[in-house]
Amino acid sequence: MQKKICMLGGFAVGKTSLVRRFVQSIFSETYLTTVGVKIDKKSVAFPDKTVDLILWDLAGEDDIGSFRVSYVRGASGLVLVVDGTRAATLAVALTLRERAEAEFGPMPFVLLFNKSDLADRWAIPDSEINELRQLGWQIYLTSALSGEHVDDAFRQLASMVTK
C-alpha cells in the first residue's frame, strides 16, 4: 500500500530537512531552497501493515498566491510545517491547508512546529499551541537537527491515512 503525502509550509521552515531526517536520518546546516517538487519514499511498518509514504516535498512559498495547488492532487494527507522561530509562518501553513482542502476536500494532516532546538529564538507562545491542540489537531514540536519527534509525526500521519 502506498500513500501520497504533501509537505506544506512557508519557505525555509524545514520541509526538506524534515524529509531528509525522516528518510535518510541526516541533517545539513546549509539552507538550500526547493524549486518545484522533490519526491521521496519511505516505508512505515505497523504490526498489521506496511505503508509506503510517497513524500512530495513542495517548494515553500514566499508569496502564497503563487502556490501551485495542482501538486496536491491525489494526496492522502498533509504535513503542515511551521518555523517555531518565525511566528508568521503559522498563518502561512494554515492558509496552504485551506487552499489544498478547498481544491481536493478535507484530508488528514499533522502540524509540525519545527526548529524546537532553537529554544532561545522560539516565537510561538505555548498558549497558542495548546489552543490548536484543543481543536483535536495532531501537533508535534520537531527538530530536523536533532530528530526529535520527527518519526513520531510521520508515523502518526501514516496511521491516520491508512485508517
Partner: protein, 356 residues
C-alpha cells in the same frame, strides 16, 4: 504551424526534442503502461515494464490517475534519478499520455535566484527580530538603571540623615575626618522624669513621645541651621557653628533652645506636660567620624563635657547657659544670673538662666 515551411518545422522539432529530452509513456484504462518511448533512459525509466500498473513502478503517479481534468501539468518535478522534468498528462481516447520534458537547467537557474531572494528575506527577518530583542533589552537596562539610581538616591539621603552633607561628601572621598572647631555652641536637652514615667506608660507610648521630641529637634535644627549630633536615651545633643563656622552660633542655639522648649510644651506624657532640662556651653571642640561600617559623627572635648554637666544641673523648664555662652549672646538676651555652683569634675561654675 501550418504556415511554417517544412524545413523550419523540422528544425524546431529536432531542437525541442533534443533540448528537452522528450520521453513518453502511454497508459491504458487499467492504469497500466501500454507503451514507452523517446529518451526514457535519460529519466532512468528504461526498466519500466509494459503491461504493469504505472503507480507501482513510478511512485509519484500514486493517486494522480484517473485524473478528471486533463490535460494536467506539473512543473519541475525532481525524479528519483535526479533529473527534473515538466510532466504533462493528456488524454487520447482510452489512453493517457504522460510526457517528460527536461527542466533541470531551468530549475537550477530558478533555484539560484530564489536562493538569493529567500536568504535575503531571512536575513531581514532575523535583523528585525534582533532589533526587537535589542529594544527590549535596552528598555530593561534603562529600567534597572533607574532602579539603581533610585537606590543610590535613597542611600544618599540616608547618609545625609546621619551625617552633615559636607561631612558625607568627604567621607565618600575616603577622607579621615577629625576637625578642630574653635568656636561652637553645644546643647543638651532631656525630658524631666523620663525614666519613671516611661515605666508607668509602657514602651509604645514612650516611643511615641521620644519620636515627637526628636522630630521637633530635627525640624528646628533645619530652621536654625544647627546639627543634631545624636540622641542618648531621652537626651538630644545639638551643635551650632558646625561644620561651617558661624559667628552667631550661641545666638542660633539660644533661639533653638527657646523654640524646643515651646514645641514640646503642649504634648502630654503620662498625664503631665513634657518639661525639658536644657544646658548650653560654648567653646572649642573636635568633630569627627568614627567607625567604618556604622558611621557616627560625634564631638569631643571639655566643651562637650561641660555642656552636659550644665544640662544635668538645670531645673525643669530651665535653659541654663554657661558664662562663655552668655558673653557671646547679644543684648537681645537679658539673662538671669544663677548662684555659682559646684559641678562634678569641673569645680565652681558661673551660670545663667535664659529667660522665656
Amino acid at each position: 504551424m501550418q504556415s511554417l515551411p517544412r524545413e523550419v518545422r523540422g528544425w524546431i522539432y529536432n531542437f525541442f526534442y533534443n533540448e528537452h529530452s522528450v520521453a513518453y509513456l502511454k497508459i491504458d484504462a487499467q492504469l497500466c503502461i501500454a507503451a514507452k518511448g523517446g529518451s526514457v533512459e535519460h529519466y532512468g525509466l528504461s526498466s519500466l515494464c509494459i503491461g504493469k500498473p504505472v503507480a507501482e513502478q513510478l511512485a509519484f503517479m500514486e493517486g494522480l490517475l484517473p485524473c478528471p481534468e486533463l490535460p494536467y501539468h506539473m512543473a519541475m518535478v525532481e525524479l528519483p534519478s535526479g533529473r527534473v522534468a515538466d510532466l504533462h498528462l493528456f488524454a487520447d481516447n482510452d489512453f493517457v499520455w504522460l510526457l517528460f520534458l527536461d527542466a533541470t537547467a531551468e530549475r537550477d537557474n530558478r533555484q539560484r535566484l530564489q536562493q538569493k531572494a529567500y536568504e535575503m528575506t531571512l536575513l531581514q527577518e532575523r535583523e528585525r527580530q534582533l532589533n526587537e530583542k535589542l529594544q527590549l533589552t535596552n528598555e530593561a537596562l534603562r529600567q534597572s538603571q533607574e532602579g539603581l539610581s533610585r537606590e543610590y538616591q535613597r542611600a544618599e539621603s540616608l547618609l545625609l540623615n546621619i551625617l552633615p552633607a559636607s561631612i558625607a561628601e568627604r567621607l565618600k572621598a575616603d577622607e579621615q575626618i577629625a576637625d578642630n572647631h574653635a568656636d561652637v555652641s553645644v546643647l543638651f536637652a532631656d525630658i524631666v522624669g523620663f525614666t519613671e514615667r516611661a515605666r508607668s506608660v509602657g514602651a509604645e507610648t514612650t516611643l511615641a513621645i521620644l519620636n515627637y521630641f526628636f522630630k521637633a529637634a530635627d525640624l528646628l535644627s533645619e530652621r536654625y541651621g544647627c546639627e543634631k549630633i545624636k540622641t542618648i536615651g531621652d537626651c538630644v545633643m545639638v551643635v551650632a557653628g558646625l561644620p561651617v563656622a558661624r559667628s552667631d552660633h550661641a545666638e542660633a542655639l539660644a533661639h533653638y533652645a527657646l523654640e524646643l522648649r515651646k514645641a514640646v510644651k503642649h504634648e502630654r506624657f503620662a498625664g503631665e506636660p513634657i518639661r525639658l532640662r536644657i544646658g548650653i556651653h560654648s567653646g572649642p571642640i573636635v568633630a569627627g567620624v568614627i567607625g567604618k561600617r556604622r558611621f557616627a559623627y560625634d564631638l569631643w572635648g571639655e566643651t562637650v563635657n561641660l555642656a552636659a554637666r550644665i544640662q544635668t544641673s538645670a531645673e525643669p523648664d530651665e535653659i541654663r547657659i554657661s558664662d562663655a555662652t552668655r558673653k557671646l549672646l547679644g543684648p537681645n538676651f537679658a539673662c538671669d544670673p544663677l548662684a555659682e555652683t559646684e559641678l562634678r569634675g569641673t569645680g565652681r561654675v558661673r551660670m545663667w538662666r535664659l529667660p522665656a
